[in-house]
Subunit: 440 residues, 2 copies
């Protein structure tokens, strides 16, 4: 993408409304724009990151055997009356009347709708296990949305729902998601710690939040510090291996970790003092097993091998992509801007032409832009006539992992400078060496 | 994907509520499910088709230079009061009050919001031309939603918005989208005819609908029949070539073509009788140039090369992916079910194991499933213990382009049968030959 043809509105000044660093950087880098309180547009740079985050989420959901569909944003109030949650949900639920005066609502979550889909089609245990997910907008009318897309009213959620014949099977489905989540966050460069959690309005008695540590975290968390050394399950993990997944779950829950709602002072104090971690965290995922909480009121039953009807055991599993993007920034930035992990970076590399119009500079930049693009890299080419200082500041702000700087002096020798955004290390090399380094 | 682990709820009976063939087939094939009047879930098979349709739309938008972002579904009423459309839009607009009693609405289109984004950031003609698009849900509270997702209330739309300094530049932007649309529909196996169109509530004076011919089309259309022979612009088209794009536009509008609203009886009668085409059509895209209709009331101005402020000239360009899917089915099906063009098929191939449990059958099927999957093909493997007749009927119904049938007799010889869904042609060949045929 040539920057001269792109839409990336950089803000020079720090926006006053931003209370946390990710919100500030997302506004400054032209990633998002608030359209109404807690309702955001994702501008092109932000959309690219969001797409990469969603792709990783999808790949790991699919790997674990979950199946993607797409439920609508608007739901009929009837379903929520059936489950008994229509009144429970309070003012956070956005209630709507259509032109025929029928009550609709903007879905804050989809347990009811997916249970309705399930009961309409699935009649036999032979169709189980089943885990259906979608990545869809939700709306929760929070009284005080804030921190940009970290806590917005309209937000994107990946929500998966598992259906099983028995509690044991459902725990295996739960473990699949547990492992998928560990992999998902790790692939985004995040170290997420699973913590026992309160279940809130979703319900159930077996639940974990995935928390990343960040100074700006909204909740206080307590854990053993050894979590940071645990190995992430590999891509070859066999998701059908019941004992294998249980072992991973057991390992990752063997040490103390809890949010403040579930904190057990005595258990925490039992940890040797040097191993205690008390910090602030950001919730990036939440998984629940809630048994027959929805299948019972809504009559979601299958015929078992015994020929009898059984209520299905369910769980639900959420990740908020529009929240993950700022969470990644909270975990990875410096005073100059964002530092994207390569897996979610909006571009793999930015080519900076320090003197657009200079023949040698333009020539080298064109070769880099074409060559890297053809090799499948996402390249941003700063071909504008901005000052070099502005270009460097922009490149640092938007946090693309590698910068290739093409200046007139070195360009005359066929050389460019390659800068690592994270370490700041710079190295002068030939164009060919730079290409090879990036394509290695 | 193994069918035994997939969620593809086939309906055996014809659903009574379906009035047109695409609606019937989408319900029977388990592609969609109605959740409330005119509000649908896309079940996994449908979601796959929708994704492929969206991917083609994106690729052609990107090729033409349009830039993707993502605006929210909910909008503040203020913007619509500024443009003057808040009252105009009538009961089709879903109006909402949030918990603070502030008026929101579920966006039926995004001219106002994108104009607001534009005016907030773009100050100079140097940033033009600019074309921003998103693929996002819309809601129009139609009094009589029907025909499944062909005319639903919550629906997906790709809407692009162009911004230019002058009318001439804006016409070039319009032509870019015109060409992108020709390519988009052609890649989905559709022959779309651009027709002069009424502009309705979007406004403007230069507008074309892209219409595909289908007996079930909602509108009557009139055109010269030579359109079916016109060449589609190639992937190498230079979108910066003003004269070149204008020539394509001129060619594609050189013959008579109009919807009934814009029909000119005299002009149509002037066509030699044998060349007249009077048929029913389905609108799959609609493009508008409307000048300063929104930039004027909303104050979207840029500084021109003359140092003065100029109102920007705008256009908007819509395609409805959730409408395109049934439109493709209307154009491509037979009495046994859907016939997907390869580019949008939910799977490239279905492997049908006629005797699951038979060692030779299972062995061949596994090799096909693994081999084709590793080669990047989307494979559906019918490994269920359904009767062969049921499997054949399902494969025909869901319309996957190629079926590979593995029966015990031929499997013993290492042979399989390859069936072309469209022609019905069947051919027995070795497993290797079948693989090569598919990977050719």
């Amino acid at each position: 993408m040539r920057l001269s043809r792109y839409f990336m509105p950089i803000l020079k000044e720090n926006p006053k409304e931003a209370e946390i660093v990710s919100h500030r950087l997302m506004l400054r880098a032209g990633m998002i724009r608030q359209q109404a309180q807690g309702i955001y547009s994702w501008l092109p740079l932000g959309k690219r990151v969001l797409d990469k985050v969603n792709r990783i989420i999808r790949e790991e959901q699919d790997r674990s055997g979950a199946i993607e569909l797409l439920m609508p944003t608007l739901q009929s109030a009837d379903l929520w009356q059936e489950s008994g949650r229509y009144d429970d949900y309070g003012k956070e639920m956005l209630r709507i009347k259509d032109r025929q005066d029928r009550p609709l609502l903007y879905g804050p979550t989809n347990e009811e709708m997916i249970t309705d889909i399930f009961r309409s089609y699935v009649k036999s245990y032979k169709s189980l296990p089943l885990n259906l997910y979608h990545i869809q907008l939700k709306f929760r009318d929070e009284i005080r949305p804030r921190f940009g897309t970290m806590r917005s009213r309209e937000f994107l959620m990946k929500d998966a729902y598992s259906f099983d014949l028995t509690r044991e099977d459902a725990i295996h489905s739960y473990n699949k998601m547990f492992v998928a989540y560990l992999r998902t966050f790790a692939r985004m460069g995040l170290r997420a710690i699973p913590m026992r959690a309160d279940t809130g309005p979703i319900g159930g008695n077996h639940s974990h939040e995935f928390i990343i540590l960040a100074e700006t975290g909204e909740s206080e968390v307590f854990s053993h510090k050894d979590f940071v050394n645990f190995a992430i399950p590999s891509a070859e993990t066999n998701f059908d291996d019941v004992a294998g997944l249980q072992a991973i779950f057991d390992k990752w829950t063997s040490l103390y970790a809890a949010t403040s709602e579930m904190h057990d002072e005595a258990a925490f104090d039992a940890i040797p003092e040097g191993d205690r971690l008390s910090a602030r965290g950001i919730e990036v995922g939440h998984i629940f097993y809630f048994g027959t909480k929805y299948s019972e009121p809504m009559g979601a039953r299958v015929q078992g091998p015994d020929g009898k009807e059984h209520l299905v055991h369910m769980g639900s599993y959420g990740i908020g992509p529009t929240r993950l993007v700022p969470a990644i920034i909270e975990a990875s930035h410096d005073e100059n801007g964002i530092i994207w992990p390569a897996s979610v970076a909006p571009f793999d590399v930015v080519v900076i032409n320090m003197k657009a119009g200079d023949e040698a500079c333009d020539g080298l930049c064109d070769r880099l832009y074409d060559g890297l693009g053809k090799a499948g890299k996402d390249v941003l080419y700063d071909d504008t006539d901005d000052r070099a200082g502005t270009k460097f500041a922009t490149a640092d702000l938007i946090g693309v992992p590698v910068q290739i700087i093409v200046g007139p002096r070195s360009a005359a020798n066929g050389e460019v400078e390659v800068k690592d955004r994270k370490t700041g290390a710079r190295e002068v090399m030939t164009l060919e060496a730079a290409m090879n380094k990036l394509l290695a």
